[in-house]
């Protein structure tokens, strides 16, 4: 017993190092498995607050581009509205399946392997996990962690990101992943060989998950090649969104999500 205590005392630096290093290692491994990292994320009031105050200075430098973006957005919406012949009573937000919440991005990263954004909207603004995040140009990611005032978004530029997507011209679906190489190119895999693919075709979200509504633009086909197995295509997609420059985002909530989830969970598991 004496010897054990002596051993601990003699090597206390090494043992402390081992302990702390294995904690760090454990947190790393945890963060590499989806939806596991519990404590270590930037959606807390301290880091969120720091990013928010830095961002409130930084956003002045982007006012011009943000304004242009809004103008473009408004233009598109207006032209849609003028050509739409409906009376006002139909557009009642209570009856719409999807509703949209706006939020400011306070932190954005795109150079690491697993990128996250932090946005200034949390559970107070009725944000929950697994909501889709988009801009007017295309998709950004999925809400991953929330706190009172801030949320973390799992960017599509993340090795763990998987989004259901389809070709605009047909209903052939695939999953959108990122090979961690370039911040403006993502990969669409598992697309059936029956699909008729041309370079320059548009890719958009498929309606198969309850996270994104159908038909949100993602990007255009850069090039494509056969999968190693030869049964499917691997497609490189150039994003519409400039992921390195995102000021404001929209969060899409699906009213029927609980219903869809409940229905899917009721299916018998074999």
């Amino acid at each position: 017993m004496q010897q054990i205590i002596n051993f601990v005392l003699r090597n206390k630096s090494f043992l402390l190092f081992l302990l702390l290093f294995s904690i760090g290692l454990g947190l790393t491994i945890q963060s590499h498995s989806y939806h596991k990292s519990k404590f270590i994320n930037s959606a807390n009031s301290v880091s969120g607050g720091v990013y928010n105050s830095v961002n409130s200075i930084d956003q002045y430098f982007h006012l011009k581009t943000e304004n242009e973006l809004l103008l473009e957005d408004n233009k598109a919406l207006k032209s849609l509205l003028f050509n739409l012949d409906i009376n006002d009573s139909i557009i009642d937000p209570q009856h719409l399946q999807y509703s949209v919440i706006g939020a400011k991005v306070v932190k954005n990263s795109y150079s690491a392997q697993d990128n996250y954004l932090t946005i200034k909207a949390g559970t107070k603004d009725s944000i929950t996990e697994d909501l889709g995040v988009i801009t007017s140009k295309g998709i950004v990611g999925i809400i991953d962690k929330t706190s009172n005032n801030y949320s973390r978004v799992l960017s599509i530029l993340n090795s763990q990101s998987r989004v259901n997507a389809k070709l605009k011209s047909s209903y052939h679906i695939g999953s959108l992943i990122w090979n961690t190489k370039a911040p403006n190119t993502v990969q669409l895999v598992d697309v059936s060989k029956f699909a008729n693919i041309k370079i320059g075709d548009t890719i958009e979200t498929g309606g198969q998950s309850s996270i994104f509504p159908e038909g949100i633009p993602i990007g255009t086909i850069l090039d494509f090649k056969d999968d190693q197995g030869g049964d499917t295509y691997n497609i490189n997609v150039t994003l519409f969104n400039d992921m390195t420059n995102i000021g404001h985002v929209y969060i899409v909530t699906n009213k029927d999500k609980q219903e869809i989830k409940a229905l899917q969970n009721n299916l018998p598991n074999e």
């Binding site: 206390k12 630096s13 090494f14 402390l16 190092f17 702390l20 290093f21 904690i23 760090g24 290692l25 454990g26 947190l27 790393t28 491994i29 945890q30 963060s31 590499h32 990292s37 270590i40 994320n41 930037s42 807390n44 880091s47 720091v50 990013y51 830095v54 990263s109 795109y110 150079s111 690491a112 392997q113 697993d114 996250y116 932090t118 973390r152 911040p183």
Partner: protein
């Protein structure tokens, strides 16, 4: 007392500098300096070793929280702190044995050697954990090389700028 407050200020200052500015440089797409290692590099050597290890871990963990990277910075920084004494001995030799190192008095050559060894070690662990794949070892080495050069340069610049004049 004065020394303690200096260290606390340095801790917070380097942390904020890292997460608000240095993490967003992205030179040539992915090269960032990791200046916060300077806290570990110039930490006084006669302070309790366990406290030093713990502070390093805390600093790494704070950087991790801000940059959403799990525990990679914490693990790399604690390893850096643990392997500092042998590198100190290797770089400064006799001065370390008598515990009389003042970083502002050291020769620039041995200081560069000391920084290089430790920064490369830190970055190697950092990027291996971040990439977390054996098949991407070339990417790890590439990132380590370029980011290390950047970090060493910035750290040397800082030590030269902020060292007290002795003459």
């Amino acid at each position: 007392m004065n020394n303690t407050s200096t260290q606390i200020l340095r801790f917070l200052g380097l942390l904020l500098l890292q997460v608000t500015i240095c993490n967003n440089i992205n030179f040539l797409g992915y090269i960032n300096p990791y200046v916060y290692v300077l806290f570990v590099l110039v930490f006084p050597i006669n302070v309790n070793r366990q406290l030093f290890l713990f502070l390093s871990f805390l600093l790494g963990l704070c950087v991790d929280i801000f940059s959403d990277s799990g525990g990679v910075h914490a693990a790399a920084t604690v390893a850096l702190a643990y392997f500092r004494p042998p590198v100190l001995k290797f770089s400064f030799g006799a001065m370390y044995d008598y515990q009389t190192i003042k970083f502002s008095n050291t020769e620039i050559g041995s200081r560069i050697g000391y920084f290089t060894l430790l920064v490369v070690l830190h970055h190697l662990i950092l990027f291996s954990l971040e990439v977390f794949k054996f098949s991407e070892i070339l990417l790890v080495l590439k990132k380590t090389l370029f980011s290390s050069l950047f970090t060493i340069f910035i750290c040397l610049l800082f030590t030269v700028l902020f060292s007290k004049k002795t003459k």
